[in-house]
Homo-oligomer: 246 residues x 2
């Protein structure tokens, strides 16, 4: 028995998120099916980041155990032939048998992409959130600065989440402008349910002038989901970097 | 009666190209249908660039004549509500009654995008051509330089084309690298059928070392489609700029 680590990229447009659900198309479900067919075993992957419906990833991580004699680094090639074209393994390798991607220290970076123009642009529509509302990126940058560090992010977490603690650490937030796009790039050691989308939704309200950047500090201190901005749409969100720290 | 000019953006993935064909989904067909429904007239647009199946555009141009009293610049808003989300009017305005987008001097820029990596990347798959073959952009740049200027591009034109002359002018070609992508950016006053895709296919052969950059000059001189490289896949091609010179 050996444990294999996969780096998984996907276009989340046509999936009901990562986590397997009966009767739904999910990334985890597709991986389990393709791996079970390939290896002739009943395979269940463990995912690092259980991304929501419609969210994209360049580099999510999954592990699974197998008896196969196929070398770890060759599994990517064989597996990609069995996966739909909107899921692609970027790397496969054998890892330590006790490596669990959710029980080990890591640092993830998400990008939330906003396309700001009078009309939407078809070739951007699947990977960025369109708005015709003018946005001031400098105000968004000011608001974002309050979120860096260790904080109780209870206001930036969907009520559905049931976790022991809502304290998390954001190590960096950047608000970048690329032509007509604004990219919110958030790096942290852990994220609550919908946290990046609520941060994006809140910073967009700051960017359009609904409230001043300093309101973000008040929101943090309120520890109440009702006071923060809306959850921004899933299509703009992408997991772009995943580092394991041990 | 007035003539309206539209700037049209689209994701060509789900279309059989621009030109209307019975029983096929085309950009022209969708525009005619949405305009006829909106205006209550039988509308037929004239397109500037009749892009192929699967090719994308940020800014194709179309004109049509109408009796409507809706101001030209308002048509974009009303029309976008009737179009599918992979077609979006970027601008509408009244133009001169004798403006014909194919019978007037213009300069177009196309980009051909190549994603070079070991495995394809799902979120890039619709808008770039994937190859795992290493590509030397510097060799591609050397080969491209032979194509700038006025030349007989007969070797770079699909045999299906029936045109009086195969002489065209390329004003600029750049081969840019953006991370793992190579972008071939071609500007010219006119293009033959499949010309940019054959140029891209040929430069990719140069980039992978199949023949030296100087072979491109021999291909031009041969005036024979058989000697140039393959027609690169449509998904990597996008019309990115359109200027009318008069």
């Amino acid at each position: 028995m050996k444990r294999i680590k996969l780096v998984v990229a996907y276009d989340g447009t046509c999936y009901n998120g990562w986590q397997i659900q009966p009767g739904q198309r999910t990334i985890e479900g597709e991986l389990n099916q393709a791996l079970s067919d390939l290896l002739g075993e009943d395979v269940h992957v463990i995912g690092a980041s259980r991304t929501d419906s419609g969210v994209h990833a360049l580099c999510n991580v999954a592990v699974f155990d197998t008896e196969t004699r196929i070398p770890g680094e060759k599994i990517s090639y064989a597996l990609n032939q069995r996966l739909p074209e909107d899921i692609r393994i970027q790397k496969s390798e054998e890892c330590s048998a006790d490596f669990h991607p959710r029980h080990c220290e890591s640092r993830k970076t998400y990008e939330y992409r906003i396309y700001r123009a009078e009309f939407s642009m078809p070739v951007k529509r699947l990977y960025s959130h369109f708005t015709y509302v003018p946005m001031n990126a400098e105000l968004m940058r000011e608001g974002a600065a309050y979120l860096v560090g260790e904080h109780d992010f209870k206001s930036f977490c969907s009520v559905a989440a049931q976790v022991e603690s809502t304290v998390r650490t954001i190590t960096d937030i950047q608000v970048l402008t690329e032509g007509d796009e604004i990219v919110i790039r958030v790096t942290g050691t852990g994220f609550l349910y919908n946290m990046v989308r609520i941060i994006a939704g809140t910073l967009m309200e700051v960017g359009r002038g609904s409230y001043p950047p300093s309101k973000v500090l008040e929101m943090l201190e309120a520890k109440d989901r009702q006071v923060a901005g809306p959850t921004a749409p899933a299509c703009g969100l992408m997991l772009v970097k995943y580092e394991f720290l041990e």
